[in-house]
């Protein structure tokens, strides 16, 4: 994963230096969207070719949704506490 972080840092610096070159930034945004689509397409192919995944789709989907429930509920509980502790006074004055 090191090359990924290096490339991202490089991109970050380049983006900051060239932040006023609108054409370049637009191109970069378009490229991001296109590559994301391409990668999702490739992931789709990989999944379609993978018999284990195709035959276990229901289990996998269920696991995914369970993780989501955990993550959302956990976030909500933390947010509830934070809201009660830090945000209420500000908005009632």
């Amino acid at each position: 994963m090191l090359p990924v972080l290096l490339l991202m840092t490089l991109g970050f610096v380049l983006g900051y230096v060239l932040r006023n070159k609108n054409k370049f930034i637009q191109f970069s945004n378009k490229a991001t969207t296109l590559i994301i689509y391409a990668l999702l397409f490739l992931l789709g192919i990989g999944v379609g070719l993978n018999k284990t995944i195709v035959s276990n789709m229901t289990t996998i989907g269920l696991q995914a949704i369970l993780i989501t429930f955990g993550a959302v509920l956990g976030s909500l509980i933390f947010a509830y506490i934070t809201y009660k502790l830090f945000f209420i006074q500000k908005n009632e004055k």
Partner: protein, 192 residues
């Protein structure tokens, strides 16, 4: 695109070079380069962070700690998924495209698909249940449920059920989480 790929893959309706070569690694490198440019060039992203009051930081922090903690608890009940894997999936915070691609690259396609479905469903749950979350969990409910999507796809519903003055917090939290995802997901899978 993902579904088209699945269908083509199942029926092997593909040229051989696409099956035999792994293009995804190099595409990922290119993607990260462009994502980096996007963050660096986004004056919004940087100025929001500069103007921040300490309190606002608590919001994305709630999402990070809450999601990881919640997923950790859930992983205890799913025998096929380890603690690390569940936390990495939850660390997508709804940013399904980027997180699932990372997870596929590091941990393989099965977990990648779980990440994709899990993070898409996080977005859908937020779109459907934000009014409910706001009613029972306070004004931050929709914002934390949306995670990274609070800044774009889920912003309208959040702003409507919470009030416009909370939209800026939603955008802030979404921006912070979007920036953190590409660092946090590989970090969790590599070091935890």
């Amino acid at each position: 695109m993902f579904i088209v790929g699945v269908v083509l893959g199942i029926y092997k309706f593909l040229p051989d070079f696409l099956i035999e070569n792994d293009f995804s690694k190099y595409s990922l490198y290119a993607l990260m380069f462009f994502v980096g440019i996007g963050i660096g060039a986004d004056s919004n992203a940087l100025s929001v962070i500069r103007k921040t009051k300490i309190k606002i930081i608590l919001v994305p922090l709630c999402v990070i700690l809450g999601s990881l903690f919640g997923a950790a608890v859930i992983s205890y009940f799913i025998s096929e998924i380890s603690l690390t894997e569940a936390m990495a999936v939850a660390a997508g915070f709804g940013y399904y495209s980027l997180s699932s691609i990372f997870i596929t690259e590091i941990s393989g396609e099965t977990l990648g698909v779980i990440a994709l479905l899990s993070n898409i469903s996080r977005e859908i749950i937020t779109l459907l249940a934000t009014p409910f979350f706001v009613k029972y969990f306070g004004k931050l409910g929709g914002i934390v449920s949306g995670g990274a999507t609070s800044m774009d796809t889920c912003l309208p519903i959040i702003s409507e059920s919470t009030g416009k003055e909370w939209a800026i917090i939603a955008v802030f939290s979404g921006v912070v989480l979007t920036i953190i995802v590409p660092f946090l997901v590989p970090f969790i899978l590599t070091f935890i």
